[in-house]
């Protein structure tokens, strides 16, 4: 079985974000990058499936972006993927979901993957489109928002997460594409031996021009900080001072504290 996992590198969401100089995206200066959280679950599920099937499947992990994204490909290799592919593009943030999905489809097309895992969305852009569009372009079945995954006798049983804690149980056969929701599994920390092993794994790099054929279907017209800050009170300073102030506010504004 050939498995593809598509991952993105995203900035640490606890960062302070500023608009970049051109006004076209967020400024990358001083940001720490890591694997998009949703994609961690995708990598883990692929590796768990490989282990379930006696380590016979071969997992390719793919990421698109500037050279720094190789870091997350290496982490995925250390988690258990077999080979890495980096589609190089210094301006990947400018590629819209259609372009990213069609590049993934172009990469996948002749490589005959039986199963493709992606995160259901990225933490930075969060459009939630790439997985489903790639499946549509490849004409393979797709199920999104998966919080439960089982594979037996060629059939996937997936549990989709709906609003209010309800789940929908869905079955589908291979080839298929699955987009992963948070909580699907518990992503493993790469062990030191596996990090060392990963250094020997194949990691190929391709220019995005090898796969990019289409223009964007949507474009970012402007990026800006939110207009209104919260209209609430901000307390800063010494802890005990703030405790006193907060209790005062709660006494005044709510009936909760007397």
């Amino acid at each position: 079985m050939k498995i593809l996992v598509c991952i993105k590198q995203a900035p640490d969401m606890a960062s302070r974000f500023k608009v970049n100089g051109e006004g076209t995206w967020y400024d990358e200066t001083d940001l720490a990058f890591r694997m998009n959280e949703y994609d961690e679950y995708a990598v883990e599920q692929a590796v768990q499936l490989k282990e379930q099937l006696g380590n016979t499947p071969d997992i390719t992990v793919l990421s698109i972006g500037p050279d720094r994204v190789v870091e997350v490909v290496k982490k995925a290799l250390a988690m258990g993927c077999d080979r890495g592919a980096h589609i190089q593009d210094d301006a990947s943030f400018r590629k819209d979901p259609w372009q990213i999905a069609s590049v993934i489809a172009g990469f996948s097309r002749d490589r005959n993957f039986d199963l493709i895992f992606t995160g259901m969305q990225s933490q930075d852009r969060g459009s939630g489109q790439v997985g489903a569009i790639a499946a549509e372009v490849l004409s393979i079945p797709c199920v999104t928002t998966v919080v439960g995954f089982a594979f037996n006798d060629g059939v996937i049983t997936a549990r989709r997460e709906l609003e209010g804690g309800v789940k929908a149980v869905v079955k589908l056969k291979l080839p298929a594409l699955v987009t992963c929701q948070l909580g699907l599994n518990t992503p493993r920390y790469p062990t030191l031996p596996n990090i060392m092993k990963a250094k020997k794994k194949e990691l190929l790099s391709f220019p995005i021009a090898d796969f990019l054929q289409d223009k964007e279907l949507t474009a970012t017209s402007s990026v800006y900080p939110p207009a209104k800050k919260g209209s609430g009170v901000v307390l800063e300073g010494e802890v005990n001072d703030m405790v006193g102030k907060l209790i005062g506010i709660l006494k005044e504004k709510t009936k909760v504290v007397k």
Partner: protein, 305 residues
């Protein structure tokens, strides 16, 4: 402009959130038609054409069939804009329709800024406007961003859609109901919620102690539940419980959209977070910029005096 609105339907009922689509169309000043894969008796109460396909035949989750129904409605109606809710149904189906038509999709619209669609970037810490480059476009709207008020009054003009017989690749087996909750947060007057910022499972007790000191219930954000620190019945958010207590205290919670959607109707919100820019600040009446594990014990101690 003509908008085609795709209704939400589950367990035999039209979801009321479907009317948010009409509120969005009204904001655009667009003529509207709707699509429902459901039963005729559940057709939305709007004075508009409603394309109806039978859920008994096509199923409640069958994206390939639903995509074909929507594409057929698009063929007949020729809308400029096809609108979905950004829900587990909408974000699953919208990109399939957009890709089939090769048109641009704008996801999770939060507002309209000078005629352009505004969406969040980096957990809504920044905003951006997105412009489709294609004549037709698909959009999804954030749940609760476009509110409709009042009672829907109207009579749908039904037009049926039947697809040619086909086999579909996904088999919908059924729903698993939400686990029985041993705590009903929807009835709590005070909720104190633990978020990732508490650091580790052992610190939940400190948040629970504050909840007790305020006479309230412990709640939690999703990452804390996923990590197994707090049980799912205490999760606040779109995939947990929607709450509206008199006082909501968010401890170490950044304010991801899905969490905020679950608690923004609270009467008074206090957020404790060392990140002054955390999105939770936008819904907080008071933002305490502090380390949760320093502030909360001090607050609890003072309250207990």
């Amino acid at each position: 402009m003509k908008a085609l609105l795709i209704c939400e339907y589950r367990e035999g009922k039209l979801l009321e959130s479907s009317y948010e689509l009409t509120a969005f169309a009204d904001r655009l000043g667009a003529d509207k038609a709707m699509v429902l894969i459901g039963k005729e008796a559940e057709a939305p109460r709007v004075n508009a054409k409603v394309y109806l396909a039978d859920a008994a035949k096509y199923g409640e989750y069958n994206p390939e069939a639903h995509k074909k129904v929507v594409l057929e409605a698009i063929k007949r109606e020729n809308p400029d804009c096809i609108v979905f809710l950004h829900s587990s149904y909408g974000w699953d189906l919208a990109p399939r329709v957009a890709a089939a038509l090769k048109v641009g999709q704008v996801s999770e619209i939060t507002g309209i800024n000078e005629g352009k669609f505004e969406v969040g970037l980096c957990n809504a810490k920044l905003r951006r406007t997105v412009t489709p480059r294609t004549g037709k476009m698909v959009v999804t709207i954030q749940a609760g961003a476009f509110n409709w008020t009042g009672e829907p009054r109207g009579k749908a003009q039904i037009e049926k859609i039947e697809l040619a017989d086909a086999a579909y690749p996904l088999e919908f087996v059924g729903y698993e109901p939400a686990r029985k909750r041993d705590v009903d947060l929807a009835r709590a007057e005070v909720i104190v919620s633990a978020g990732r910022g508490i650091g580790k499972k052992e610190n939940v007790a400190i948040i629970a102690a504050l909840a007790k000191a305020l006479g309230g219930e412990l709640g939690a954000s999703r990452p804390v539940v996923d990590a197994g620190w707090v049980e799912h019945s205490r999760q606040v958010g779109t995939t947990g419980q929607i709450v509206a207590p008199k006082l909501y205290v968010a401890c170490g919670i950044s304010g991801a959209i899905q969490h905020v959607a679950g608690m923004k109707k609270s009467e008074f919100v206090v957020a404790i977070n060392k990140d002054k820019d955390a999105p939770i600040g936008e819904v907080a009446d008071v933002l305490v910029v502090a380390d949760v594990m320093q502030f909360v014990p001090a607050l609890t101690a003072k309250l207990q005096k």
